[in-house]
């Protein structure tokens, strides 16, 4: 995919996000739920975004992870409710495992939700070609037709949400996105052994890109606000204490962007993983990005803790991004300092 082509697509995405239930509008009626109009997956398919990550042989654009990340950053900036993040990173894996899935994935008729491994290792089990048990909480359940489930055995399962034997325990995340746990009773599913780890890391990578977009947007809004808000006869931005605070957050933002880019390069170089930057970048979201946006709330003052203000919603979304598919502590435990990262 050429840079020019990508820029065109990103411009289109910016416009489309601005015209279809933008965050600024959703914030005003947040308590009625976070969902975009139901038709939006069809629209995403029409726009061609769903075919973006698929190889040209599978009628896709063959866009590298870097390009997908740029689109995901835009989605994060607008706190989009569509699970583009899961789709863009997991569709390539699924198509590689089952090429016939390319058509429904890019047409938007197969729409993914995905669960994390169940804490306590009590998740569903694959037995006699069927799945039984209780899943972790699903991300992307709003528009989904299918659930992708990493299993404690290391296998990866794909099942229809409407299949016989599936019951839902619906809930909402703190950021308003719908979630659910599934109770599975001998549900037919497709199953691929040994793919759980890569699927989880792909989902985690998608959330990193989304979080970076959130961070960028939160930073820009705050910088702008500090230059407008007058206290003690001058803009807040004239106070050195706040200047230094913003400069520190800016350092974190630059690092978050750089980590995201490096992660994309690793994914493009070695599609099957492992990607040494992933645990670093994902734990960065749970540590520095979360703290950075917390600091943006602090320097903004009281208005930033209200439902009417976008920072509130970005901050809450970041908690979901930080927690799902490997929270900071778990990711930190994976970092093998000498062998992988510091190797020359």
């Amino acid at each position: 995919m050429e840079r020019e082509e990508l820029d065109l697509l990103l411009d289109g995405a910016r416009r489309w996000f601005a015209e279809h239930a933008p965050l600024s509008e959703r914030v005003a009626r947040f308590r009625q739920g976070h969902s975009a109009p139901v038709g939006s997956w069809d629209a995403l398919a029409d726009l061609g975004w769903l075919a973006l990550p698929l190889l040209e042989e599978a009628d896709g654009f063959g866009a590298p992870a870097g390009a997908c990340f740029e689109l995901l950053r835009l989605a994060g900036r607008d706190a989009r409710p569509e699970a583009l993040d899961l789709h863009l990173l997991l569709a390539p894996l699924l198509v590689q495992l089952a090429p016939e899935l390319a058509a429904p994935l890019s047409a938007g008729t197969l729409r993914l939700a995905m669960a994390d491994l169940q804490p306590g290792a009590e998740g569903p089990r694959w037995n006699a070609e069927q799945l039984s048990g209780r899943t972790g909480a699903l991300l992307g359940v709003e528009h989904a037709t299918h659930a992708l489930l990493p299993l404690a055995s290391g296998g990866l399962a794909l099942l229809e949400l409407a299949a016989a034997g599936v019951s839902h325990e619906p809930a909402r995340w703190v950021d308003g996105r719908a979630t659910a746990r599934l109770q599975l009773d001998r549900v037919s599913a497709r199953h691929w052994p040994g793919q759980a780890g890569q699927a989880i890391d792909r989902a985690a990578a998608a959330l990193v890109a989304d979080a970076t977009g959130v961070f960028e947007a939160a930073f820009e809004l705050t910088l702008d606000y500090l230059k407008q808000r007058m206290q003690f006869g001058k803009p807040l931005s004239a106070n050195q204490a706040l200047q230094h605070r913003m400069a520190e957050i800016f350092c974190d933002l630059q690092q978050a962007l750089a980590l995201t880019e490096r992660l994309a390069q690793e994914i493009d170089a070695e599609a099957a993983g492992p990607w040494p930057t992933l645990p670093v970048a994902k734990s960065f979201v749970g540590r520095r990005v979360l703290r950075g946006v917390g600091a943006l709330i602090q320097v903004t003052g009281g208005i930033a803790v209200t439902e009417e203000y976008r920072l509130t919603h970005w901050y809450r979304r970041l908690h979901v991004n930080a927690q799902c598919f490997g929270a900071a502590e778990a990711q930190l435990n994976r970092i093998e300092v000498r062998r992988q990262l510091l190797a020359a």
């Binding site: 308590r31 909402r172 995340w173 206290q231 006869g233 003052g301 927690q323 778990a330």
Partner: protein, 393 residues
């Protein structure tokens, strides 16, 4: 802590503990532990019980309903109340309006208002901040004009905590527009039912309703609704904010929270199925919080020791708000990390299927607590106060 370890204080602690054991219902404890913004009737119910025992406002002068306890006894009382999950009463009446009336109010005002605060019959709210006067409070614009018989108040306030629960407001308004910003302010008592007062709810990050905007349109209050002398309001407000700051360190409640974290770490399990407390990283996190708590508590106790020697609280008092509020945030951040995805649910209408029973209320507390470093004088402003008035920088 050795300071607590006299037989007399141990007896006192026992007495408080017995009282709480007997009088605090399971239902109120449950509400306090899980709830963030308590219902007025729950707070009032508990305040009435304390009042009947003579413990309605331990920090007030004895003649006006106080207990005559030392500062250390009061601290023990707060600690026991925190550990028993006793509700906080109407903090605006007990800790802000009450002490201001005691210091500056007329005898008639004291007789009219103090007993009802004590009994939990009337609740107060604080009308200081305005949309354009936050940290820069002295730039506030709400006007009070005297029309010969009444003060007529026009303008707008924001961030009224518990405004929708309150019967009364103490309100800082400009009475002398020509004077320097700080010089022309006075404090008024408003009845929340006065014509011309309109409240508007503001929802906060926890999706709860505890704060409000308020609009004044020709609100008429009698001449004796002013607290203290005209145009002296800035001094009263500063005294009040200093009291609020010490109160906001919330050390005993934070101690209670840290004990809860320990419980969470024992009850929640990691992906390996083992309790989180078995992870070295988790134990270290709890140890760091505990150490930082003990440091905060020590500073709070040293302020108490100074007060007991009859001295005004020194520099340690100014650091309490900063360190206390930061610690409150770190505690709830840790709770969220321990709860994992079970902590990512806000309240009942988010579906309880995800929620760990021990996790009730933590997401709400966590999100609402972004504010503790902002309200009661943001921490940046506290730091400026320390730098200027203590460090002479």
């Amino acid at each position: 802590m050795s300071l607590f370890n006299t037989s007399e204080l141990r007896r006192f602690r026992e007495e408080v503990r017995d009282f709480l054991q007997t009088h605090l219902s399971e239902e109120l404890r449950h509400e306090t532990r899980g709830g963030l913004h308590m219902a007025r009737e729950d707070m009032a119910r508990w305040q009435a019980i304390l009042h009947r025992r003579g413990w309605g406002a331990p920090h007030w002068p004895q003649a006006l309903g106080g207990t005559g306890w030392t500062a250390l006894q009061r601290y023990i009382f707060e600690e026991e109340s925190a550990f028993a999950d006793a509700p906080l009463g109407d903090v605006h009446g007990l800790f802000l309006a009450g002490p201001m009336l005691i210091a500056e109010g007329s005898d008639a005002q004291k007789a009219r208002y103090l007993p009802r605060i004590l009994a939990g019959e009337e609740f107060w709210c604080q009308g200081f901040s305005e949309p354009n006067a936050g940290s820069d409070l002295a730039s506030l614009k709400t006007r009070a004009r005297f029309d010969g018989t009444h003060w007529v108040i026009d303008g707008q306030k924001t961030w009224l905590s518990s405004g929708h629960h309150a019967d009364l407001m103490f309100c800082l308004a400009r009475t002398e527009p020509e004077a320097k910003p700080q010089a022309g302010l006075s404090v008024f008592i408003l009845d929340m039912r006065d014509p011309g007062i309109t409240l508007q709810p503001i929802l906060t990050m926890d999706e709860g309703h505890s704060v409000n905007a308020v609009f004044f349109d020709n609100v008429r209050v009698p001449a004796d609704a002013m607290i203290g002398a005209p145009n002296k309001g800035w001094g009263y407000a500063k005294d009040l904010l200093a009291r609020e700051r010490v109160n906001n360190a919330q050390a005993p409640r934070t101690k209670r929270d840290i004990v809860e974290l320990d419980r969470l770490a024992r009850e929640c399990r990691g992906v390996d199925g083992r309790p989180l407390i078995e992870q070295a990283g988790v134990r270290r996190k709890l140890a760091v919080l505990t150490a930082d708590f003990v440091a905060l508590e020590s500073a709070a106790l040293s302020v108490i020791a100074e007060q007991m020697r009859g001295k005004e609280p020194g520099p340690a008092a100014s650091t309490l708000k900063i360190r206390g509020s930061e610690l409150q945030q770190r505690v709830s951040e840790t709770a969220m990390a321990l709860l994992g995805d079970a902590g990512l649910v806000l309240g009942a209408d988010y579906g309880s299927g995800l929620l760990h029973p021990a996790g009730r209320g933590w997401a709400e507390r966590h999100f609402f607590r972004r504010v503790v470093t902002i309200y009661a004088g943001a921490n940046e402003i506290q730091k400026t106060i320390i730098a200027k008035s203590i460090l002479d920088m």
